[in-house]
Amino acid sequence: MAEVSAQTQAPEGEAKGRFNRFDNPWLNPKLLWGIGILLGIVLLGLIGRMLWNTELVFTGSTPLRLPPVGFENLRGQPGEAAFPLGTDGAGRDLLALLIIGAPNTLMIGAVASLIGMTTGIILGFSAGFIGGRTDDVIRILSDVMITIPPLLILVVFQSVYGDVSLLLMAFLIAGFMWQSPTRLIRAQVLSMRESGYVKMAQLSGASTAHIMFREMLPNLIPYLFGSFIANVTTAIVTAVGLEVLGLGPQRIPTLGRVIYDAINSGALIQNLWWWWGLPTALLAVMFIALLLINLGLDEISNPRLRKI
């Protein structure tokens, strides 16, 4: 095979290159970095709970407004090793707040997105398979609901009901997380239904369940993951947004809640940068990790992106 054609060779060479380079396209560096960072944050929460005194999240359990170790606050107090990341204006230890808050925030995102995803899979497949009226209703409903900003409906809800639990918050947000997976899956199912391999499966006497779950679903995995991650981001943004408006869980520390307290107490003007800065930075890292995962997944489902 010394002299092979350029035309047939180019695509095949590309496909083979893909398999040689990482054997498995899922071993994408961006994806792995993103997952690594997120796991790090979860571990911080888990290990932190064992090693650190989480009682310090309660108001008044520490001195007020201490800076992180190695810094001084405006009153000239140095940071103390007992509270390495400093304390807030109500006497709470920042490290403890982050240990408890970060996993809470991630949890809301993951749960809301998971529920939205599941709903999306069910609705998307129903729309694509049943068609007719069912399809019309699902299509129009998701088109309509996707333009309504979730934050505002949730603001209305929470301002009526006041305090909510973490889980209820996740459920509420999930009510706005099903639209884009539904649209995505519906479109994919409609195009796959016409594909040769689905026809072949029908010819092979496959049941509808087999076609949905064994023939179609595996090919949707990269899209589903991508949509899931995008939704986690959106859910966290919405949750943090509510918290920054002073809504959301009132008694459980979340990163958004810490930022809310900081802004409300004028931490920006009083130069208490660690109070709002640390949770902001941690959130930013979280979002960057999610972005990396999404970029990685994009490259997996669309090999052409890898060249750039």
């Binding site: 609901m145 309504i148 959106t234 408006l245 979002f287």
Partner: protein, 338 residues
Amino acid sequence: MFGIPRSYLFNRFVTFLLTVWIAATLIWIIPRLSPVDPAEVMLGRMASGGAFVEGSEQILQSLRERFGLNDPLVIQYFKYMWAVVTFDFGVSVASFPTPVWTLIAQALPWTLGLMILSLIITFIIGNALGAFMVWERTPRPWKVVIPSLMIFTSIPPILSGLLLMYIFSVKLRWFPLTGSYGLTVTPGWNWDFIASVLTHGFLPALSIVVVTFGFWTLGMRGLMISVQGEDYVNLAKAKGLKPRYILYKYMVRNAILPQVTAFALKIGLLVSGQILVERIFSYNGMGKLLYDAILDQDFAVIQGVSFIIILMTALSVLIVDMLYPLIDPRIRHQAEAA
């Protein structure tokens, strides 16, 4: 209208009405899902929060009326719908007895101005960067710089707002800390006021732009990559057209179309983000109004603001949908066939 088929316009308009109707209904239903009397609950919380409780009986009555506890539900619903259609959201509790609509009318221009400005800037910058990321003639340094800008992509505007505010207003004092214009200027068409508005609006707009352009950039990159492989781009090259002309007329003009459609999917989130930025910068817009209303438990204002913002969002989607056929001739055809 411009050769756009009626059925297309009609469909879009129905979707718009549906959106507004569902949103209004949700806002109406939510307080009613509660097993207890929402009016009582709210009044109770107002009292415990130390808010304005004088004349509580009157407020309770007005709340009862809003939630229409004496009428049958259907009547209540239609009364509410009529109120919504006429922008009559009742009276603010916190600034009693100012009508909610008056408060909204004061805040709305600020939000609209900031929103239109930042959305357009973001859209243009984001798409331009996305196109340059893919174009083969983009200078090397740009190809390195643009992807690294993506690091901002998914950070929500509240975080960038906090950061920019800290750096430019608190530390460097280049920009005013809060508000939408200085206290010393008189609103009107004078230079001082306009300059003040611009300096106050710059940071909020920047914090939105800096973190949302990436969404368009990433989308545009994917679209440009697929357009780049299209036969018509190849033929354009074979026609000996100038590279810049190909970039604009053949690649960007086609790749931008799905981006415009994506606008509708994204605008809800962008608007939410902006509301939060306004709250951080205490910008005199809907965000601040909403935040203050939440603090004051001023439900009528919350309801009104939420509805108006959703209406604005739905209207922007409608406008984009109406303009879309003008940039994509195929829509006219498809709609005729359908």
